[in-house]
């Protein structure tokens, strides 16, 4: 049996902080659905299992509810199995009731209870839908008791955090816990999990699919879905991660002492993230630069911003004006004395970091004004 395992679509995520690029990010998430559909068709997978968080919130607009369904409708040979996650938990009046009320195509199945569902003649899906945002029980425990005919492939579908897994701050870590040994305990051939945005293997039969289109820099670089093949009941599954996302999300750190290394760093970036036009780059820049070097950095960043899809540069740079900087401000007189004063202030340990930063900013502003 072959199916595609995916999760964490989070349709409807706004991306407002990206300004006019927000719409592109929103569209990319829907494009990922189509990419998954294409993958399933291409690989002969009859089922796509979506392990929760189809929607970003539990009160999306109707058009948001309809949008992925309409994408799935176009792949009539594929049956899409949708599971409520913590973002879109199934609750009275929630998105799933509304979605059902809106009407679903025949190839879209919503699993709102823990009832086992047959996947063809040889496999059974054991869903564990979340009915609240924070579930304190391990809902996959029911799978242990779920009876299936002998020789049937048992596939679990759940959303939550595997115990003692993940890093602080991840969604679902404190609640919605799942026993990492569930696949063995429940005799599952495969446990398809969602919640963790990075693709991750927990065990030979237990995987997180990861998000098909990343939405932040601390998840994976490019969106992924898993192509899973289970030859027969009890046989180990074959799991193949496949890229289905549009944008690459990368985070880099630069520690600068001068502007001379910028060209080399740019070349590395272009090689690692080709094409950079789809790169969503977060740059954390530290170190200390002269004012002139800082000006060069600004120009470099400006050019980089024009190259990549989105650039988020966080500068934690210290300004260390050299003699040339100060002379460019003035050789003598009021402006030179102001520059000296600001320089001393920026290095004064008695001041707070914020005050020193303000002095650096003022020095930079002076430089720009004096050399304009």
């Amino acid at each position: 049996m072959r199916f595609v395992h995916t999760a964490d679509w989070q349709i409807g995520k706004p991306f407002v902080r990206f300004g006019d690029k927000a719409e592109a990010f929103r569209a990319a998430r829907l494009d990922a659905v189509e990419a998954i559909g294409r993958l399933a068709v291409a690989e002969g997978a009859a089922h796509v299992l979506v392990a929760g968080d189809v929607f970003d919130s539990d009160s999306p607009a109707n058009v948001t509810l309809r949008a992925p369904v309409e994408r799935m409708r176009g792949f009539s040979a594929v049956i899409w199995h949708l599971l409520p996650g913590n973002h879109d938990a199934h609750r009275p009046g929630g998105p799933w009731e509304r979605l059902c009320a809106l009407g679903l195509p025949a190839n879209v199945v919503v699993h709102l209870s823990a009832e086992p569902v047959a996947l063809g003649g040889h496999a059974v899906l054991l869903p564990a839908p979340l009915t609240s945002r924070h579930e304190t029980r391990d809902l996959t425990a029911r799978m242990d008791e779920a009876a299936t005919p002998p020789g049937t492939i048992r596939i679990g579908l759940a959303h939550g955090a595997v115990t003692r897994f993940g890093t602080p701050g991840d969604d679902g870590e404190a609640a919605n816990q799942i026993d990492p040994g569930r696949a063995e305990k429940a005799g599952l051939d495969y446990l398809a999990l969602g919640d963790w945005h990075r693709t991750r293997e927990i065990g030979p039969r237990t995987w997180y699919a990861g998000t098909p289109e990343p939405d932040r820099h601390d998840s994976q670089t490019v969106g992924t879905a898993l192509l899973v093949t289970v030859p027969q009941a009890g046989a180990p599954p074959t799991v193949e991660p496949r890229h289905v996302g549009t944008y690459r999300w990368a985070a880099e750190t630069l520690d600068l002492a001068d502007a001379d290394t910028l060209a080399a760093r740019e070349a590395l970036l272009r090689t690692a993230h080709d094409p950079v036009s789809k790169l969503v780059l977060k740059l954390k820049i530290g170190g200390a630069l002269s004012i002139a070097a800082r000006r060069a950095l600004d120009e470099w960043l400006e050019r980089l911003q024009a190259s990549v899809f989105h650039l988020d540069a966080a500068l934690a740079l210290a300004i260390r004006p050299d003699a040339a900087d100060l002379e460019r401000i003035d050789f003598d007189g009021v402006l030179r004395r102001v520059a000296e004063t600001l320089k001393a202030r920026a290095a004064d340990p008695a001041l707070t970091a914020a005050e020193r930063q303000t002095a650096e900013d003022a020095l930079l502003a002076l430089y720009l004004e004096a050399t304009a």
């Binding site: 409807g12 995520k13 706004p14 991306f15 407002v16 902080r17 300004g19 929607f55 970003d56 919130s57 539990d58 009160s59 999306p60 607009a61 109707n62 058009v63 948001t64 609750r91 009275p92 009046g93 929630g94 998105p95 509304r98 003035d330 003598d332 007189g333 009021v334 402006l335 030179r336 004395r337 102001v338 004063t341 600001l342 202030r345 930063q357 303000t358 002095a359 650096e360 900013d361 003022a362 930079l364 502003a365 002076l366 004004e369 004096a370 304009a372």
Partner: protein, 894 residues
């Protein structure tokens, strides 16, 4: 530079050649009246140094003498850089210019104009050089009170000399431009007070943030409400499942029916018990009535027997009481007889006391008649004595006015005599040894020396050798003395005395008599006092009259008290007699009172005995009435049989009652207790309400579910979650934007403040030499004051006693003085740095008072130690104390 020579010809009022003589270093003072040509000389000097000789400015045209056909010629001599220069210029007509240096012509014509400027370090202009420091230090008439405002050239010159010394550079245009740019950039975002500026990026970002916060809060409230609705819906669904359970409904109904059946059985038992209770009560009533009838007859029988016993006892007590009543009546009669005898004796004793008291009063009246008679005699004697003294005082008295007139006349006589003696020639006779006893003067022998005044002719005889008569000169003094004597004699006559001593003696005697009279009057007042607070008119007569009246009254009383006219014994005897009579009477009074009390007590007791007898008689009658009534109810002969039959009836009724009581108790035991009934009622009520409430509640829950589902559907369809996420993103974006703007503004503010502070520090340092030069002058005029200058050396104001005073707010005089001081200071600054320019003041210090002008002279004198100072003034008198070198305008015909 020192101006050493100035000559004009054809200039203003100076048609012929005139020379300003006396110019040299230090303070030069030209005092000349109005229209003497001072300002003309100022203009001529100015044009000769700064103007091109060929130009035709309005000022130059005004320089020429009115109607003159000749050119206006000006010669100026000056020293600079160790050289002597002489400039000769002709204006308007036959123009020309020559410059001599150390007596040698060094330039001619237009070159001479520019050579002068070169010598003075002036920048050439089209028609004239830029005046530079001269424009600042040469003050025309009427301009001295304006603040010193150096022009560009002067500022440049001052800056050169100062910067050379302090090494400060203001930063020029670049500093100003940066400051202006920073201010402009700040002004895009904030107001002058640092508040967000409407329409600016900062305000817009803050507004966006506030709007995002508001929208987010609103969305979250709606989401909270949605969450609450969902929770409520879950609860309602769970409740509906419970309420709609049919097994539970059937169980509740079965319970209710069982409880109802149990309650009905209890009600029936209670009804039967109530009927048995009624039967029991009826039986009890019948038994009670039978028992009472029997008990009443037994009671009647017993009462008849007790009544008969009481009648017998009362009959005995009535007889005893009648005897006691008679005995008490006999005791009362005896006591009333004794009381009558005591009353007769008491009346006699009362009369005896009255007699004794009248006799005692008569004796006291006799004594008073004697005492009043004696006082009346003494009073009459005193009255006569007082009358005699008054008569004597009248005879002796000399009025004080008369004595005063005598004394005045005597003083006038003494004064007339003294004047005569003073005017009279002094006759002094001194006897020599041989003349002893031989010389007489005014008829008296002279022994030793005699000195008299010759008021009247005095004769000095020297033995028989000679007689010398000294006759005083005729005068009015003798007549004055005679007049005084007559006046004295008249005064004595009118006073009736022979001399002033007699007058005084008689007044003393009269005073003694008045003292004696006052003593007698006091004695009379004591003897015959006058009642009332003060003596009335004729008080003494009144006192005596009162005594006479009292005497008459006492005599009348005496006659009344003497009953028989027989003489009375003494007062003590009479008192003893009265006391004995009173004692006898008091004794009888006590006995009489006792007897009266005894009669009253006996009378009360007799009445009480009578009342007691009457009460016994009434009780006896009452008992007999009762006995009659009881016997009428049931006579003695029928009572025994009746008692037996009633006892049998009572026993039968009691047995029937006991049987009914047992039956009722049995039925009551089967009735549920009150608690049981209450519990049963409550159970029935609860089960009924539960069944009804369940149905009602189910309907409500169905309605609530429908409402909640509708509301959730509406809210959920709004896309709240997406909007909340979008707004949270927008808020984060706005916060980032605000933080970036505020960081930028903080940097710009810091930069602005740093540039401003640096410029201020530079300016302070830069202006320090000017202030140093100015300080001695300023303190000479305004001790302790400081002047505020701006970077262009213009004065902003004064600081005195810690208070800042803008220049424009100072008085005219002070402004003029300060303006001159600033010019002198700038001049001194230049002079001390080798750039000396003379200070030229035309008609200045016109607003200064006397004190200030004196101090300004000190300042000018101080300034003149460093540079040449030329003062032109028309106020000759005010400038008398100015000192300095006096200049004169002289015609030069040479």
């Amino acid at each position: 530079m020192i101006i050493t020579h100035l000559a004009v010809e054809g200039v203003g009022r100076f048609r012929s050649r005139h020379v300003l003589r006396g110019l040299d270093t230090g303070l030069n003072l030209l005092c000349a009246p109005n229209e003497a040509g001072k300002s003309t000389l100022f203009r001529a000097l100015h044009l000769a140094l700064f103007a091109r000789h060929g130009s035709k400015t309005e000022e130059m045209r005004r320089l020429g003498s009115l109607g003159a056909e000749l050119p206006a010629c000006v010669e100026v001599g000056f020293k600079r850089g160790g050289a002597d220069y002489l400039v000769k210029k002709s204006f308007l007509r036959s123009t020309g210019a020559k410059l001599y240096k150390n007596g040698t012509l060094v330039a001619d014509g237009r070159a001479a104009d520019e050579a002068v400027w070169t010598a003075l370090d002036l920048t050439p202009g089209t028609s004239a050089a830029e005046e530079a420091a001269f424009g600042l230090l040469w003050v025309r008439q009427g301009q001295s009170f304006r603040p010193a405002e150096p022009d560009e050239g002067t500022r440049a010159l001052l800056s050169r000399v100062i910067e050379a010394e302090v090494g400060e550079v203001l930063g020029g245009e670049r500093g100003e431009r940066v400051l202006r740019r920073v201010a402009d950039r700040l002004a895009e975002d904030e107001t002058a007070r640092g508040q967000p500026k409407a329409g600016g990026p900062w305000k817009a970002a803050l507004d966006r943030r506030a709007e995002a916060e508001r929208t987010l809060a609103e969305l979250r409230r709606t989401l909270d409400a949605l969450e609450a609705d969902r929770t409520a819906l879950t609860d309602k669904l769970r409740e509906r499942a419970l309420l709609a359970d049919p097994a539970e409904t059937a169980r509740q109904k079965a319970d209710r029916d069982a409880a109802l059946a149990e309650r009905d059985a209890g009600a029936r038992a209670e009804q039967a018990a109530q009927q048995a209770g009624t039967e029991e009560a009826q039986r009890e009533l019948a038994a009670d009535r039978a028992r009472k009838r029997h008990e009443e007859l037994v009671g009647l029988d017993q009462r008849i027997a007790r009544t008969r016993e009481k009648i017998a006892a009362l009959t005995r007590r009535a007889a005893e009481q009648s005897a006691a009543k008679d005995a008490q009546a006999a005791r009362l009669a005896a006591q009333e007889q004794a009381f009558g005898a005591l009353a007769t004796r008491l009346a006699e004793a009362e009369r005896a006391v009255d007699r004794a008291r009248r006799r005692e009063t008569a004796a006291r009246d006799a004594e008073r008649v004697a005492e009043i008679s004696a006082r009346l005699v003494r009073a009459r004697e005193l009255r006569e004595h007082i009358a005699r003294i008054r008569q004597l005082i009248t005879t002796l008295a000399v009025p004080a006015d008369a004595v005063k007139a005598i004394e005045t006349a005597m003083q006038a006589l003494d004064a007339a005599r003294a004047r005569a003696e003073a005017k009279a020639p002094r006759v002094r006779v001194t006897i020599g040894p041989a003349g002893a006893g031989r010389v007489t003067c005014a008829g008296e022998a002279v022994d030793g020396t005699r000195d008299i005044a010759a008021v009247a002719p005095v004769t000095v005889a020297v033995g028989d050798l000679a007689t010398v008569e000294i006759v005083p000169a005729a005068s009015d003094d003798a007549a004055a003395i005679e007049g005084a004597r007559e006046q004295l004699a008249r005064a004595l006559r009118e006073a009736g005395v022979a001399s002033l001593a007699e007058a005084h003696e008689r007044r003393a005697r009269a005073a003694d008599l008045q003292t004696e009279g006052r003593g007698l009057a006091a004695e009379l007042a004591a003897t015959a006092p006058v009642p009332g607070p003060g003596p009335a008119k004729g008080g003494k007569e009144d006192g005596i009259a009162l005594l006479e009246k009292a005497l008459a009254e006492a005599q009348a009383g005496l006659e009344t008290g003497s009953d028989s006219g027989a003489p009375l014994p003494d007062r003590d005897t009479l008192a003893r007699e009265r006391a004995a009579a009173e004692a006898a009477r008091d004794r009888l009074r006590r006995e009489h009172a006792d007897a009266q009390s005894a009669v009253l007590a006996a009378r009360s007791e007799a009445e009480a005995e009578t009342l007691r007898l009457q009460a016994l008689q009434l009780d006896l009658a009452d008992m007999q009435t009762r006995l009659g009534e009881d016997l009428a109810v049931c006579p003695d002969d029928r009572r025994a049989e009746r008692l037996v039959s009633l006892a049998a009836e009572a026993a039968q009724a009691r047995a029937a009652f006991d049987a009914a009581t047992r039956r009722a108790a049995e039925l009551r035991a089967a009735v549920p207790t009150a608690d049981q009934r209450t519990a049963l009622d409550a159970r029935v009520r609860r089960l009924t309400q539960a069944i009804d409430g369940r149905e009602r509640r189910l309907a409500e829950v169905e309605r609530d579910i429908a409402n909640l589902q509708g509301r959730i559907a509406t809210r959920g369809g709004e896309g709240l979650g997406e909007r909340e996420a979008e707004t949270a993103d927008a808020l984060a974006l706005a916060e980032t934007e605000v933080a970036a703007i505020e960081r930028r503004l903080a940097a710009l503010r810091l930069l602005r403040d740093a540039v401003t502070e640096s410029r201020r520090a530079a300016r302070d340092s830069y202006l320090a030499p000017v202030k140093t030069a100015m300080r001695p002058y300023l303190h000479a005029l305004f001790p302790g004051a400081d002047a505020a200058l701006d970077a262009s050396f213009a004065i902003d104001g004064l600081t005195r006693a810690g208070a800042d005073e803008p220049f424009v707010s100072l008085s005219d005089g002070t402004r003029e003085q300060v303006a001159i001081i600033v010019r002198l200071a700038l001049g001194r600054l230049l002079a001390e740095r080798g750039q000396a320019v003379p200070v030229l003041l035309d008609d200045s210090l016109v607003f200064s008072d006397d004190d200030r002008i004196e101090r300004m002279f000190d300042v000018l004198t101080q300034a003149a130690e460093k540079q040449q100072v030329i003062v032109l003034t028309c106020r000759s008198r005010a400038f008398l104390s100015c000192g300095g070198r006096a200049l004169t305008i002289e015609r030069d015909d040479a």
